[in-house]
Each structure stands twice: as structure tokens, then as C-alpha cells.
């Protein structure tokens, strides 16, 4: 590898859109040190200053500090050590600022045709290099403070635990441009073509004056989550605030929350059992914060098809958006909390191979449709499983969301399974298409799990003594870990064995035909 001596291409001026993917080493946004920890430092310094305010005022306005009190400041003042103390503070400040600045200097990255690479660290150097064709998704997050600076963090997700390549922070438009370029490279389009495509979408620059910068920040701040030029409007699903509110009120979690509050209130007031509060309040806080988080995250939700994958945007103040290239969705679950049924609302979740462990803003979401009508579910499904758009598959999905009926394409559990599945034995069933396995589960809490056969990892067939007595068996379809467990219990043993064989065969066929890791190459 040719290693250029330093990072030549990094410009320190507020960055115009430069080609960050030219294979050279580049630096991050100049405000990075401030955004990554500088704020905490400033806050601590401010706190200390605020506590010393009276003393500092006294120092400058005359009137010595009161005697007595043995705290270190008094000691310093009494002994006339103020110049030395100030010097120490100054040196510490300079050291900290130098460290921040140095760590920014040495934190460089480059994107070539084949790979992405990040170097960082002053004493402990790290060098992380990833292959572009292994990308599972790209996440652009804009925490509130970073948005004020027009900065964004770019997370290149690859499969595996804590295996992401984070680029925090870049200027917002650089992040968008870089995402597009990386996805184009990953898709297998040649670099020359992607350069042409990038040139075609050049952006208008601000004029460099302060006013220009401010107006541009403001424009970026209120800009729609998704550039409307990028996505065809018929592929966009957005959130209606009314529906979000309704779905939140009718969500199982909210019901549990209300019931808990009522139960705790009754027990505490009528029965004077105040100790229940100690148990209930932490649970309430947890459930309540989940409800609030779901609501605030979903307010500016949108999902759309872009040429390089599905883009899911979230967040009100700290925005976050994920691009999932084709063929990176390992399973999909469409499910319905009980009280959503009259409104025909559904929630869609997915299993993805990458996990990012970031708490703030950058959390990779598994819910790609927080609530949507049936039509929206189908639009989302077309986006994440483009192979499943045929009429036959569509009918299967419709049947998968409905009550079980004869001849709906699903093979269900036998009647004797009702011993174990009182209500759901009719609905409990599967359908196998060449592209996907559909598992229909649950009568009260309906759900439909779709696993693309090309993404399936393995399949197992299980039976314990109880199931053997009933001549039943379970089939587990294994996908990458995530919120969805694609299992179907209590099938007839013979049917289950056949299903096991068929799924194993379908997985092999689909994997052999799958080309989605370089999705644009024919």
C-alpha cells in the first residue's frame, strides 16, 4: 500500500463539497473535537467557573476573601500563589487543546474503489480497513449539536459486532455525497461512472460570508429529511402525526403502562401498600421512556427507495437516517398489536446483519415502519423485499395478514395442536415460495415473518417428548440475530419434516442465484 506522508488533501476552510472518495487521505470536519467531547470539557469548565464566580468577582473588585475555611483556593490566595495557579491552569488548557487538535490531525480516512480505511489515535494508533462490497448499510446521523455546526456522522455498517467504520464528523453535505459515492462503489458500478454521476448533482455553495453561512445552516436545519430529487415520490412513505398519536395510545405498551399506573394507584391509596410503588416506579419509567422515545423518533419518519437502497429517516431534533442496500434485509416481520386491528395498522421490523452500539442518535433501528396502513406495508415490503412483488407473493402476504382460510396457500398446524395453541393453531402456518419463506403466527397478536431464502443461514427441525406424543414438531429458520425469531412451532411432524427438506433445498438454490452483494453488476 502506498502511504502518503501526511494528509495532503485536507482543507481546513469550512468545507465545500470535495470529492472525499478519491482514494487520498482526508481529515474530518474541523469542529469534530468540539463535537466529540469538547462540549463536555466546556461544560465542566463553565461549571467550575460558575462555582468560583463570587471569588473571582471578589478578586477583581477588591475586598479579600473571608478568612477561615481551609479550601485549596483560600490556601492559594493566602500564600500568593495566584500566578503559579493561573500558569498551571493555562498549561493544562493548552495541553488539552493540543491533544484535541492532534487527535483531529491524525484522524484521517480514505475511500478507494475497493475499501474504506480509517487511521486514528496519537499514542495508540489504530487502523481499520473495510471492504466496500461487504457493506450492510450506511447511517448518517445528525445529533442536535452537530446539526448546529452543519456536521453529520457517517457510519459504515458492516456485519458483525462493533465492526462499524464511523466517520464522525463530516460536514453535512459531504456526508451525503460520500454516502452516495460509497454506495455506488459498493454496488459494483465503475469509479468513472460514479464520478460522472457525482458531478451531475453538484450543490450550490454558500457565498462565504457569515450571513450566507447562517442562512445555509437554517436551510439545512429545516430541509426535508430526504432530498426529493433522490427518490421517486410514489416510493415514499411518511408518518401522519395523527396516526402516530393514535397508534401510540392503542399500543400494547401504552395499555400495560396505564394498567400499571391504575393498579399501583389503587394498591397504594386504597390498600396502603406503598411498597408496591418501589417496584412499579422503575418499570413505569422504563416503559414510559420507551413510549416517548418511539413517539419522538417516529415523528419525522420517512422511508423511500433510492437507487442504492432503502433509506429510512428518523428523528426530530437529532436526525438519523439509514440506507440499506438491496439484499441486506435478513428477515421481515409484519405485526399488529391487538388494538390496532380495527384501524388495520401494522408495524414492520427487520433483522439486519450489522449492529451499531451507539447510544446517541446513531442507533441502528430495526423498526422500519413504526405504524402504517396496509397499503403502506405493501409499499415498504416492495422496498425491502423487491423479489416479492409478484401477484402470487402478494396474495400470500395478504393471506398472511388475515384470518386463516382454506386454500389460502398456507399449510397450518393440525387440529390436535390446539392443545398447545388454543387460538392460533389455525393461523399458525407456513408458505414456501422460491424467494422467501413465509411464517404466519399468532391469532390474537397477529404476525407474519418473511425470510428471503437467499439470506437464510440454516434451518433446524426439533421435537421434544411432548410434541412427539402429539406427533408435532417445530421448525426454526435461522437468520442473523435481531428482534425477529423465525420459528414455527407445533406443525404436524410429517409436514414439518417435508418443510424442513424443502426449505433447505430452497435456501441452496436461492443462495446460488444470489448476486446482491454487488447489486448493480448484472
Amino acid at each position: 500500500m502506498s502511504e502518503p506522508a501526511a494528509a495532503p488533501g485536507a482543507s481546513s476552510a469550512p468545507a465545500p463539497v470535495v470529492d472525499l472518495a478519491d482514494g487520498e487521505w482526508h481529515r474530518l470536519h474541523p469542529a469534530t473535537p468540539l463535537l466529540r467531547g469538547g462540549f463536555a470539557f466546556v461544560a465542566v469548565a463553565g461549571f467550575v467557573l460558575a462555582n468560583l464566580r463570587e471569588r473571582i468577582l471578589g478578586l477583581f473588585l477588591g475586598g479579600g476573601p473571608g478568612d477561615g475555611g481551609g479550601d485549596p483556593i483560600d490556601l492559594i490566595v493566602r500564600r500568593g500563589l495566584i500566578p503559579i495557579a493561573l500558569l498551571v491552569v493555562l498549561v493544562v488548557l493548552i495541553v488539552i487543546i493540543t491533544i484535541f487538535w492532534l487527535s483531529w490531525r491524525v484522524h484521517t480516512f480514505r475511500i478507494t474503489d475497493e475499501l474504506d480505511e480509517v487511521r486514528s489515535g496519537i499514542l495508540f494508533r489504530t487502523n481499520r480497513r473495510g471492504r466496500l462490497d461487504r457493506i450492510q448499510g450506511i447511517n448518517v446521523g445528525r445529533p442536535l449539536f452537530a446539526r448546529l455546526f452543519g456536521a453529520a456522522r457517517l457510519d459504515i455498517n458492516v456485519a458483525g459486532h462493533d465492526a462499524n467504520v464511523p466517520l464522525a464528523y463530516l460536514s453535512g453535505r459531504n456526508a451525503d455525497a460520500l454516502r452516495r459515492l460509497i454506495l455506488q462503489r459498493a454496488s459494483g458500478v465503475r469509479a468513472a461512472e460514479s464520478a460522472a454521476a457525482a458531478g451531475a448533482t453538484a450543490l450550490v455553495e454558500h457565498d462565504g460570508t457569515l450571513g450566507g453561512i447562517v442562512t445555509q445552516r437554517a436551510r439545512e436545519f429545516v430541509a426535508p429529511e430526504l432530498n426529493p430529487q433522490l427518490a421517486p415520490p410514489e416510493s415514499v412513505v411518511t408518518m401522519h402525526p395523527g396516526r402516530l398519536l393514535g397508534s401510540t395510545v392503542l399500543h400494547d405498551r401504552t395499555i400495560v403502562f396505564v394498567l400499571l399506573v391504575v393498579a399501583a394507584a389503587v394498591l397504594a391509596s386504597a390498600a396502603h401498600m406503598f411498597f408496591v410503588l418501589f417496584g412499579v416506579i422503575p418499570v413505569l419509567l422504563g416503559v414510559g421512556s420507551q413510549i416517548v422515545r418511539r413517539f419522538s423518533r417516529s415523528l419525522r419518519y420517512s422511508i423511500a427507495a433510492t437507487p442504492d437502497g432503502v433509506r429510512v429517516g428518523y428523528g426530530l431534533l437529532s436526525t438519523n437516517n439509514d440506507t440499506i442496500p438491496p439484499g441486506r434485509v435478513h428477515s421481515v416481520e409484519i405485526r399488529q398489536p391487538l388494538l390496532w386491528r380495527p384501524a388495520d395498522w401494522w408495524e414492520v421490523r427487520v433483522n439486519l446483519a450489522s449492529h451499531s452500539d451507539r447510544q446517541e442518535g446513531g442507533r441502528r433501528t430495526s423498526t422500519i415502519l413504526p405504524v402504517g396502513s396496509r397499503a403502506e406495508v405493501f409499499r415498504v415490503l416492495e422496498l425491502v423485499l423487491p423479489d416479492m412483488v409478484g401477484d402470487g407473493s402478494r396474495e400470500l402476504v395478504v393471506a398472511g395478514l388475515a384470518r386463516a382460510a382454506a386454500g389460502d396457500g398456507y399449510t397450518g398446524s393440525p387440529r390436535r395442536a390446539a392443545v398447545l395453541r388454543w387460538f392460533s393453531w389455525r393461523r399458525n402456518g407456513f408458505a414456501l415460495e422460491p424467494e422467501a419463506v413465509l411464517l404466519r403466527r399468532g391469532a390474537i397478536w397477529r404476525s407474519l415473518i418473511v425470510v428471503p431464502t437467499a439470506r437464510m443461514q440454516s434451518v433446524s427441525l426439533r421435537q421434544g417428548p411432548l410434541l412427539r406424543m402429539l406427533r408435532l414438531a417445530d421448525v426454526h429458520v435461522h437468520t442473523v440475530s435481531g428482534p425477529i425469531r423465525a420459528t414455527l412451532e407445533d406443525l404436524d411432524a410429517v409436514v414439518a419434516a417435508e418443510f424442513f427438506r424443502d426449505v433447505a433445498a430452497a435456501a441452496i438454490l436461492a443462495a446460488a442465484a444470489d448476486r446482491s452483494h454487488r447489486w448493480r453488476t448484472a
Binding site: 450492510q136 433446524s460 442473523v480 419434516a497
Partner: protein, 171 residues
Amino acid sequence: MSENTDVPVVPRGGLDPVPGEWRRVSPRYVWVDLVGSIISGLVATAASTIPFWVTQLPWLLLIPAVVLVVALVNAAITPRRVRAIGYRLRDDDLLVRRGILFQRFAAVPYGRMQLVDVNRGPLARALGLAEVKLVTAAAASNVTVPGLPMADADELRDRLVELAESRRAGL
């Protein structure tokens, strides 16, 4: 549901999804499994006496008694359990079976394999045995073939890697 299909006779309600010959593991693996189940049985029995020590209620000694019986039965059927372990290299996937009472069959396409481990515990090493473990991107796959003679384990590993290489697929 009609059970009169062409699927061959299996113990009533039991499973045999892919009829045919299975490759079995070494009978010496019985000893490894036996020692393991005896140790875990003893630990479980000892742990289940804790309620008795805490409360001194004599009837709570029933719990360790039941645990002990279960552990003994478990140890007694070890040879059968080991005989029930089998694997088969098909054209495009590896099939593994385990268990008598709790049966589990798994099929892993070779192209899905991320890596292969060969593990050897102290007792297995003394007996010249090793365990081959397949890792896919799914944690639930959990496919292991224990009790292979060392040479066979190495051979199986090399064979699996070779097969995976020729049927390489994305994630």
C-alpha cells in the same frame, strides 16, 4: 393430515426428515459425554440441596433426590444419546442430528459457513477426539459434530472449508 405418504416408518410421531445413512461419531465419545453428564449431574444435585440447607425443611430433600434420579437416567442413556449423533455431507449442505428425547436436525448450506472450529477438551484429547463446530452468521445455527477422531476432524474441517469455498455466497 394423512400420514400414509412415502416417508418410511419412524417411531410414532418421531422424526426422520431425510432418510438414509448417517455418519456416526466415535463410540469413545461416550466417555467424554458420560464424565460431562456425571459432573453436571453432581453439581445440579448439590445446588438443589440449597433450599434444604436454608430452611431445614426435610421434604425439600425431595428436590435433590429427583434431580439425582434424572441425572442418573441421563447418564445411563449416554451411550444411546451418543449413538444418536450423526452427520451427513450432502451435495450442498451439511446435515446434523442429535438427541433421542429432544431431537434436533439442522441443515447448513456450505456457502453460509463463516468459519470452522476444531475444539478439543482435556478428556477428549486424552481419547484422541475432537469436536468440529460450524459458525454461520446466525447465532442460532449452533452446529457441532463432537466425538470425531482427530484425523477425521481435521479432514472434515478441510473438506468443509473446501466445499464452502466452492459455493461461496454473500451474507
